[in-house]
């Protein structure tokens, strides 16, 4: 990539990445890759401020969820801490007609789709398994088995082509989220094959947060992940995943290529999971404090804040308002999570089959009778 000789990208891994905002908050006007593709953004002051607000909000909501988990109100939480730019940048790059297939960590993408942030909390609180209508929100249900959703995304993208909804700027595109660990899954590699041979309108968005629970990237790959795309016959681009501007620019371009009929792109968003894999994990067992500190210096929010301050696009009043707004949203979220009712046990028999099943119906009745047999017995 092209930014090896500039100051920008000094923090890039070997091979470089697309960066439009340095960790110090310096803007890079545009980046041209070795393949001759130029990336840039052209945001208004308002749009910059909105991006900042998104980043702060999703981090604050995430912190609230982590607190709720520690207080015993969530069974588990998969924190996005450190990955806000990758999620907000790619999520904001989606057009309304685009479809997203998340893992279980894309709370920031969910937020950018305009979805009530409480939606995935049924899953993490144990009230349901994360149930919503993917087609209503253009955001599929969370998928927990690593990598499986990339095939669903590919099939959906094939359907877009079959519907004749590609080949124009109004076309539809799909984004499939997954992590560095998932790139070792056979199903993810199959989704690359299928997308390639069917020229599916899809963007594979890999958040390389450096760890698959405890296993470092070196256990998943011998080459930088974005370079794998070449073997499947489509472009691969590595971006600074902590740079919301580069993330937006590259994802928007890849999605537009897809909707125009130019097929898939693999984006590797180079980032870092600042927290644990989930609330059940202890990262001190497998990574050192200095590494975490070095990534803190690349924080996605502080770099945008530094830029906005330097450019006098925002001041302390604005930052204070954003913090206050995020705090209110988080408190509201907390109250509503705490108010989520436990499901009635008999509802476990619901939604097993669209057309129902006499066997499930019989067990539902047996269960109801069994429950009723305790009534008045003091159990």
């Amino acid at each position: 990539m092209a930014n090896d000789e500039s100051e920008a990208g000094a923090d890039a891994p070997a091979g470089g990445f697309v960066q439009l905002l340095t960790p110090d908050g310096e803007r890079v006007d545009s980046v041209t890759t070795a393949e001759g593709v130029t990336y840039s953004v052209d945001f208004t002051d308002d749009e910059y401020r909105e991006l900042y607000k998104d980043l702060v909000t999703v981090r604050r909501l995430d912190a609230e969820a982590t607190a709720l988990q520690r207080q015993g109100e969530l069974g588990i939480w998969a924190s996005l801490l450190g990955q806000e730019a990758a999620q907000v940048g790619s999520g904001r790059a989606l057009r309304p007609q685009d479809m997203a297939f998340p893992t279980y960590r894309e709370h920031g993408v969910l937020y950018t789709r305009g979805i009530d942030p409480i939606m995935p909390f049924g899953l993490f609180r144990g009230v349901d398994q994360g149930g919503w209508d993917p087609n209503e929100f253009k955001f599929n249900t969370y998928t927990i088995v690593i990598g499986s959703q990339t095939l669903h995304a590919t099939g959906y993208a094939m359907g877009i082509t079959m519907d004749g909804k590609t080949g124009s700027p109004d076309g539809e595109a799909v984004i499939a989220y997954f992590g560095d660990g998932a790139t070792s899954q056979g199903e993810v590699n199959e989704s690359f094959v299928w997308s390639g041979v069917f020229n599916a309108p899809i963007v594979f968005f890999c958040q390389n947060n450096q760890y698959a629970i405890s296993e470092p990237l070196e256990r998943q790959t011998r080459i930088p992940l974005y370079r794998r795309a070449a073997g499947y016959g489509f472009p691969g681009v590595r971006i600074d995943g902590n740079d919301v501007l580069a993330t937006f620019a590259v994802t928007r371009a890849a999605l537009d290529n897809a909707r125009n009929g130019q097929g898939p792109t693999l984006i590797e968003a180079y980032t870092y999971r600042m927290g644990a894999h989930t609330s059940s994990d202890d990262p001190t067992r497998y990574r050192i404090a200095s590494e975490v500190e070095s990534w803190k210096a690349k924080d996605p929010i502080s770099r945008l804040k530094a830029f906005l301050t330097k450019q006098q696009v925002a001041d302390d009043t604005f930052f204070g308002e954003v913090d206050e707004s995020a705090r209110k949203l988080a408190l509201d979220l907390r109250e509503r999570v705490l108010a989520m009712p436990d499901p009635q046990p008999v509802t476990m028999f619901d939604n097993v089959y669209p057309h129902g099943s006499p066997e499930v119906d019989a067990q539902r009745q047996q269960f109801a009778d069994y429950q009723a047999s305790f009534e008045g017995s003091g159990h």
Binding site: G131, P134, V145, G159, G186, E190, E359
Partner: protein
């Protein structure tokens, strides 16, 4: 008008009619297009419906089922062909963890009207992985429905009913019966046809009940014919649906006969016969004159072709079990 056609051709006609009646139906699998499938079940369909409706896929079973999930979310009705029973396992994760659970997970918001066709069973002299009977794995999985046909008339109707259903269905095809002929009414009105998830008495009898499905129905019927010569009247029930089971006709029969023998090719240990025997025991305990007996494949990997005749339940083993039941 009834025509005498093979079970394979009946499936082909059924698939054709589904493609005609619903533009969202797509067929996908390995070699299903130009070649018409290794068993020619999809013969001529790509030529008539195009490469977007009958899709030759990359050679990846997880990919076939996984992309079918996405197509279904998009509003399509994919019919996936798994080339052979023993090749379904790369797709097992997608079938069991995704196809089966999506409706439940999404609180009823996502229907996956996917049919996964699997030619299954032995008796064709094949190499390893081409003769297995993996139905119990799928019948054990909540969220999937599992059916199997035993004759051309059922094949023609059941494949269309399965495709029209919004439930995800694993459709097992008795591959060694693909070439057996029977009368099929190609103009049958699906609305009035025998229900998909219902078993059926294939032959009436009064002395013992033989329960079979798929390729073993023929064996059971042959056994019943032979038993008749010995003066024993066997009732044969074709289960047709393995999940959910429809055991009402079985209970009715066993309450009359007092004796039940379950027959399948799959290994006996935790096979369909185990569940059926348990349920008959629970429902018909006081009617039973003998324990429910099972005639099954053995608990070994499917053996080499030159010994498969000894592995597979046949007429003699069924009659032997009937004898043992009467000897109780």
């Amino acid at each position: 008008m009834a025509e005498k056609i093979t079970l394979g051709k009946a499936l082909n006609h059924g698939l054709r009619r589904s493609l005609e009646s619903d533009s969202k139906v797509v067929i996908m699998g390995e070699d299903v297009g130009k070649l018409g499938g290794v068993f020619r079940i999809t013969d001529g369909l790509q030529k008539d419906f195009g490469e977007d409706r009958v899709i030759d896929t990359p050679l990846a079973e997880a990919g076939i089922v996984g992309t079918a999930v996405g197509l279904a979310i998009r509003g399509y009705r994919p019919v996936c062909e798994i080339q052979f029973d023993g090749f379904v396992f790369p797709a097992y994760n997608q079938i069991v963890a995704q196809v089966a659970k999506m409706y439940f997970r999404s609180l009823g918001n996502v229907r996956l009207p996917i049919v996964i066709r699997i030619p299954y069973g032995g008796g064709i002299g094949a190499v390893e992985h081409h003769s297995e009977s993996p139905e119990a794995y799928f019948a054990h999985t909540p969220g999937l429905k599992v059916v199997t046909c035993s004759n051309p008339a059922d094949a023609y109707v059941m494949i269309q009913q399965a495709i029209a259903s919004d439930d995800p269905i694993v459709f097992f095809e008795p591959k060694r019966r693909y070439w057996e002929k029977g009368d099929v009414d190609l103009d049958v009105d699906l609305a009035g046809a025998y229900p998909l998830h219902a078993s059926r008495v294939a032959r009436e009898g009064s002395d013992a009940t033989v329960i079979a499905y798929g390729p073993m129905v023929r064996v059971a019927l042959d056994a019943a014919a032979a038993a008749e010569e010995d003066g024993r009247s066997l009732e044969v029930i074709d289960l047709r649906t393995l999940s959910p089971l429809d055991l009402g006709p079985v209970y009715d029969s066993v309450r009359r006969t007092g004796r039940a023998v379950v027959v399948h090719e799959a290994p006996g240990n935790l096979g369909m016969g185990s569940e059926i025997a348990a349920r008959i025991t629970e429902e018909c305990f006081y009617s039973l004159e003998a324990p429910v007996l099972r005639v099954t494949g053995y608990d070994t990997p499917y053996p080499a072709a030159r010994v498969e005749e000894e592995y597979l339940p046949d007429l003699d083993r069924v009659l032997d079990a009937v004898d043992r039941s009467f000897g109780w």
